[in-house]
């Protein structure tokens, strides 16, 4: 029979380590998005989403439901034009909040495009709210909502979700 004090300390450590692992697993999902969509990899882009995951983007008034719709978005001609120009979808290091088997992240994203003169432009800067769920296969995205940072209240509302429960 184990020492109850040892047992308690082990259980506390196991819980703390799981929470650290959860955070790094969630960062990995978020940081996989850019390489997937800029790498023209529909399967990789789809793989980070839960079966009921939803991608909401105000810019094209988009609502994508489920991994197959995300994969289709990568194949869509509008996105293929970005890839052929040379696109880089880069996420900032976001604020993550774990809540057991769900989590949220709030941060920024930027899309850089290669330009005809050989340089690069900042094509889009957005505020992002991501939601996640722990599934039997690991953490997956259940929802992402983003809005261009254009001076309007919508992007500010998303950013302030970093400070709300």
């Amino acid at each position: 029979m184990a020492n109850p004090d040892i047992e308690q300390r082990l259980a506390a450590l196991e819980s703390r380590v799981t929470q650290l692992e959860d955070q790094l697993a969630i960062h990995k999902l978020i940081n996989s998005w850019g390489p997937a969509v800029d790498g023209d990899n529909p399967a990789a882009a789809a793989s980070i989403w839960a079966d009921d995951g939803v991608l909401l983007s105000e810019l094209e008034d988009t609502r994508l439901e489920g991994p197959a719709a995300v994969a289709e978005m990568v194949r869509y001609e509008g996105h293929q034009q970005l890839i052929r120009a040379g696109s880089a979808h880069i996420q900032s290091f976001p604020v993550i909040e774990l809540n057991g088997d769900t989590a949220k992240a709030v941060g920024f994203s930027r899309v850089y495009l290669h330009t005809a003169d050989g340089g690069h432009e900042v094509w889009r800067v957005s505020a992002n709210r991501w939601d996640f769920r722990r599934t039997p296969e690991g953490w997956r995205v259940t929802r992402r909502k983003n809005h261009r940072i254009d001076g309007g209240p919508e992007a500010r509302a998303i950013l302030n979700q970093a400070f709300e429960n």
Copy 2:
């Protein structure tokens, strides 16, 4: 009575896990700054600072002392103009060094602004040195110094603080 070897391994693990948690807690402070100041949230911007925290910025020759002064900076008309244009204050993933109950971080920051033609410009790129202290309420910022990367020696001096003790 616990096995002394077990006790030693548990204590070592507890210390290592605390250091990992400290690093992620410090990242969270740094990554909260942008959403707070771009979200027009003076209370959130103030909340990451220690009572004696100091914000030093060469650009406007600014020296802000304490959370109330930081909150005031968010409400200041110059900052409100950035918010109305559409601003994104984004930190890089910095180099962190823990030293018990204090810590430092050295990295880059960028401010992107939405432009009249619907695009975005890189308005400012700076070198940053952050200092932190563990308080009863958690880690807080005790000092942030930044300088625009303009080719002069000041920004380089800040960047080199990543490699000094």
Copy 3:
């Protein structure tokens, strides 16, 4: 004699904590690169590389072998011009994969330059593949390959390495 269940749980925790530490150590190497090369610090830039580390960059058709060659690159007149203009080499938060005593990371990098009119331009955006090895002195870079994101297949091939074993 320790309880075998306790022993097993301790060993599992030690392994998990080491993997978390490894990931943060690798991020620290990557995030040291910008401050080193923009801070005009050849020794710091060299220090993150293994003795047999290789830096491959398509842009100047560069192949640097070993820390001394990396230090020389920082002193090179072409790089010194970037520093005098005001350069910021900023890495994204990459996707890391550990494999025991080796690791890889895939992500983006950007070089921002201060411009004559007092602003900043996005001078280069690249796809990056980093490789690492655990050495007696800690993790070191064994290889970095990058390619400008210019719409061609080379950068996409690098990004897709995030999803390959």
